[in-house]
Subunit: 134 residues, 4 copies
């Protein structure tokens, strides 16, 4: 299966950011969106679901924000940089909130441990891409 | 058909913001997401599509951001306010960029005129909700 | 705020289906997507959340399917009818499953009552549009 | 970065399908969604954009359908199999339509070549998962 990073290299125009930081952030956003969607579902299946409401809600929000951010970063044609920067800030905030929450019970739930890792890496990838855009 | 605003009144918990500002923003986000998706498609069908690249791209981005924002605003259970505020800022930036672009050729394309109206109203609804959250 | 049905009238090309059946289905898909997203969140806030796992899961699935279906129906430019028909079938199946579930406890939860209505209307709108396409 | 396949192994309940066919299909759906989003944007940047309208439109549809399908397949908690089967059929139809189109000008556009590969693999992964569910 081809990857989205390989795909980005086929764009007929120029990329709006350095290839490495951009690819890393695109991949992190989509992977985090998928893992948060899965974590919300795994939390829902836990016996203690009533204590995982904030985790489920934050997972769902983080998945939505990461997915939208990934889709916007994939597009290279005539980007509006103020919109992209604002969306990267929102994605960083979402990954921070969700990573903080999942980390808090990572030793109880393997899915939250994996989700916390994905959120931290996406938070960091957003930060690096944001720095490179300034 | 029931509306999302009626639905919000059935939530068993408290809403995280004033009902009016929240409902108005939720409705504006979803309507704007739909209209931007439609505007991108209408631009694609225009003979002068090659001159509408920036408009199409901005429509697609704005649709993604508005849809994610609407979904997050719909959820009332234990919200993370820093994430919500950051996403509302991103949505305001997206609607500003897309509204500016569509307004610029609103007299040539009826779909861009309608889309500019939707973007302006969503931009304003995000601003009002953001002010009310401070 | 302009509506998506008004927006469809501004498309420079021909609509791929009768305006009334198409508009009704587009609106039903998006409204149902929003209401299912809200119902999942309202169920999550209920004390008896542990008994609402199937409802929450089905709400989330139905929201995803309705949103994708709505976006595809909005686009009028050179449609692939086999894809559209298959997606309408999937949307009908999703609305049936979610409507059946929500109807089952509509008298206990106002949000499930509203959600069941939205699902039934979307199921019916998909059926009507499918019939009109044959 | 953890992958969605690793994440699926952490679910507290049983998977609704054989792990290999399920993981392969989930990954194919999300990868295809991303690559179709990118192909639509790359086509938009081509000089001959006016001849790529059907390709762009089909890319956008296929991205929406693959993303919704991936999200539904990720969830393991109390699935409704009739909805899942119908959505897999729609995804197979979308990947067939988009793969056929992109293959047709794969020798002219590298992005369409990569996109055709992604569509074919997703089409095949949907077929295999569908067969395994019967």
């Amino acid at each position: 299966m081809p990857t989205i990073s390989e795909m980005l290299s086929t764009h007929p125009g120029e990329l709006f950011a350095a290839k490495d930081a951009l690819s890393a952030c695109v991949e992190a956003c989509f992977e985090c969106a998928q893992i948060c969607t899965s974590c919300a579902d795994a939390c829902l299946a836990e016996e203690m679901v009533a204590e995982l409401r904030y985790c489920i809600r934050t997972d769902l929000d983080c998945a939505d924000i990461c997915n939208a951010t990934g889709r916007i970063l994939v597009r290279q044609t005539q980007p509006d940089m103020s919109m992209i920067r604002a969306q990267l800030e929102a994605c960083r905030a979402a990954c921070k909130a969700c990573g903080d929450e999942c980390e808090g019970h990572a030793d109880m739930h393997e899915h939250c441990k994996v989700c916390a890792q994905a959120c931290r890496q996406c938070e960091s990838a957003c930060e690096k891409l944001l720095s490179s855009l300034k």
